[in-house]
Symmetry: C2
Subunit: 489 residues, 2 copies
């Protein structure tokens, strides 16, 4: 998850200089109002990879805001006084008064994550720690504390580079750094972070990922989130159902989608060969006796006209028609509207040995419903966790969950729309609504990017498919399905 | 916990006949409005001990309400269709439409509880199951489903008796019954139920305990809760922060306090002997080297003039003055008011080897603050879980938590108030506020009863102390403290 943080997000010095003055004024004004009204207090949890510049970002906040009402509470190894009391005692002791902001470094996440990372506790013990944390943060939210949590992230290679440099300069901390580096090399490390972020990113205390490769980008991102979350909360006399909006406007963030290489292509001959190969493979896999103990759920999302239908037909062609069903998802029926959102998908969950293919899916909640305002902000914000929980239940029941995002460029979409209008037998595929949706391209991009960040779990990862070339897209889909099935069988 | 359900709660046939007509009208009217408006759906989870008359109560609901909009979904061993899908699939399949009521028997609690009771999963796996349940119910709440959960309870002996009778009549189910009886005999059984109820009784989906000894009482209690919760929800266009009020007026419920035998007495000679013995014991225990690895937190609550101060002085007398501190809890300071409610208690948590005695405590939240309206209903409802979580953290850190409720009768309080007014050096102890609180005797009784039901955990149980006779009360307190300490050392 949080794939976007792995991308190089940057801001030029010039852009930084242009954005800084307004940001500072906004931050200061919000803080002033907070101090005068004393209606709530603020906790900023700063966590993330070593070498990501957490301290530098904290200094910047002190520079930008009134430091008299900004305390930094850093926790390392517990002192004697602290060891003689329950683990949360030290965090309770330093809770800020209303009107004050506390920056927390080495927070209540530190110990559980370290224990888990160094295998001193099981995954289940780790999850229990996370329950305690959620109860704590929920209580804080209800008691008028605004909690914002920041995870400073770096691309893996960059982080390793920085850690090596750090180790050279600071001999004393070398063993800690080595422990950590080893931890990050280990495949389970990212999973620890993911588990932590998914389980504890609640509407009451959300995690924000700060891409920290570029320091200008990093600090502006942090400042903007703090500023807009403060203003959001200041406008509300009582806490809302959410602490702050999930997405902060004002700065372009490269999403995982931007990193898709749309130029990927496959020529016709290669395509025919590969198509035959992977379709045969898919038929063989789903024909195995062991397939009767598992099931497959495949969800297709993507830009309009990205070729979802064509890709799905390439998948179903080699399959025994008795074992699969394609579910096109349009507007919900009356029966479905009268029940919780996910009901329409639960009722279509295949039994063992079967395949359900969704042409558009439960992700509509955080895509079209979000963009068109068919549900409230609180609804789609809680949907990320609900969806992760839903898919988790499928995976735990030995159902393979495959999710495809078919991406095309805005220009390619225009070309395909026009082609559809000009071809008689394709006209049914293009409606006024498609043209209307196209006008909201930017909003859909943001929604899709955040969706991929927040729901690409190790249990049910997204596959981003470059679909500018249909042949390439179809083969990618078939290949991925075969790989996922093979792993499960 | 739920001590009150262990008491004989009864209603005469005459009382039942008098209450039934109004209750039926109320239920029907509420259901009619629900069906017409179709704004939300209702799930009634019916769980509890076998032999407690769950089926009889469900029939009664069908008799009282319009059965065309009332479905009963009972789940036993999963069918083949169900076994081939994730465990929650069958519950999703049967979710009621808006306007409909679904009675769920053998709900999502059945399997986790059975697995845990028969030691087929660890306590931690059980807790993970409970997380999944909480996520499911929270989602339902947010999706406009009103969930009410009922636990049908019986005094232990009565349940055994009924199980034996059942086993005689129904040979086929004998092995299930034996498994269950064994489970209930085992000490961990009640703990399983407690853990389940504490972790999953949320403001969004609360548990209600139905004392099921007497069938008239049982059915009226169930009907009244359903009726008043329906009306509560019908008055709100959007779900509130709570599903329904915790307590339902209209019927006197015997609380754990009613069962305290206030006539308990100790004569002077015995008292002197016991006092000396237990004070010496307490001094010895707190003097042990191992005491430096633990700590003691003792909370004293009770009716005004019940003798908390006197009891506390008997506890502190034999103690080394350097190791204990008595904290009288009155109105919070400005500093404390500006922070989350439990902060003022966390800051007073003793370090290892020390003792903190609270003369009134964090339970003020669910007593005086509740009764006087100093906090909202949602605030004190979430406080039960917050307090349980708080005490859990203390216990896990090897702190002994002792909680005393000193109970006197209304008459005895009056006598003591008068005596205080008449004795010059005791006049400072009685204020106008005491007289005002006395007028709310009934409200405080209800609050105290519910507090004991919802916070008497196996980790931190309440000790109910008959304090009509001061000597008896003081010895009970000292004895209990010594026993709890001895167990921990």
């Amino acid at each position: 998850m949080f794939k976007s943080a792995e991308l190089p997000q940057t801001l030029s010095k010039q852009e930084f200089r242009e954005m800084e003055p307004d940001l500072r004024i906004g931050l200061l004004q919000a803080q002033l109002q907070l101090v005068e009204e004393r209606k709530f207090s603020v906790i900023l949890v700063i966590a993330g990879l070593d070498g990501a510049g957490k301290n530098e970002a904290i200094s910047r906040l002190h520079e930008w805001m009134d430091p008299r009402h900004l305390a930094c509470n850093a926790y390392g190894e517990p002192t004697e006084e602290e060891r003689l009391r329950p683990p949360f005692w030290r965090f309770w002791r330093d809770l800020p008064e209303k009107g004050e902001i506390s920056i927390v470094v080495g927070s209540w996440y530190q110990l559980p994550m370290r224990r888990h990372a160094t295998s001193k506790c099981s995954r289940r013990e780790f999850e229990l720690d996370l329950i305690t944390i959620n109860a704590f943060e929920e209580m804080l939210f209800n008691e008028n504390v605004l909690i914002l949590k920041f995870w400073f992230d770096l691309p893996v290679d960059e982080q390793k580079k920085r850690m090596k440099e750090l180790a050279k300069r600071r001999r004393r901390v070398r063993h800690i750094l080595e422990e950590w580096t080893q931890f990050m090399d280990d495949g389970t490390a990212r999973e620890t972070v993911e588990e932590m972020a998914l389980r504890t990113s609640t509407a009451q205390a959300p995690w924000y990922v700060i891409p920290a490769l570029d320091e200008e980008y990093r600090d502006i991102a942090l400042g903007q989130i703090v500023s807009s979350a403060l203003r959001y909360r200041l406008e509300r006399p009582e806490p809302d159902s959410i602490a702050a909006p999930a997405i902060v406007a004002g700065m372009k963030r490269r999403s995982a989608l931007d990193a898709v290489d749309l130029s990927a292509k496959l020529d016709k001959d290669d395509y025919e060969k590969e198509l035959e190969h992977w379709q045969e493979e898919l038929a063989t896999l789903t024909d195995k006796k062991k397939f009767r103990d598992i099931a497959l759920v495949a969800a297709f999302e993507g830009n309009d006209a990205a070729g979802k239908g064509g890709a799905i037909r390439r998948v179903t062609r080699p399959l025994d028609p008795r074992i699969y069903k394609v579910h096109p998802i349009a507007a919900p029926s009356d029966e479905e509207k009268a029940r919780p959102y996910l009901w329409r998908f639960w009722r279509r969950i295949p039994r063992k040995g079967r395949i359900a293919i969704f042409d558009r899916s439960w992700y509509g909640r955080v895509l079209v419903e979000r963009v068109e305002g068919f549900c409230t902000e609180a609804d789609w914000m809680r949907a990320y966790n609900e969806i992760n929980e839903f898919e988790q239940q499928l995976v735990e029941d030995d159902i393979v969950v495959a999710k495809f995002w078919l991406a095309i460029s805005e220009e390619e979409q225009l070309a395909r729309f026009k082609a559809r209008e000009e071809t008689a037998y394709k006209q049914f595929k293009i409606t006024d609504e498609d043209w209307r949706n196209r006008l909201k391209w930017g909003a859909y991009e943001v929604a899709a990017g955040e969706m991929i960040d927040r729901t690409s779990t190790s249990a049910a990862p997204w596959t981003l498919v470059a679909a500018e070339d249909k042949r390439h897209a179809r083969i990618t889909v078939l290949k991925t399905l075969c790989k996922q099935l093979k792993k499960a069988l």
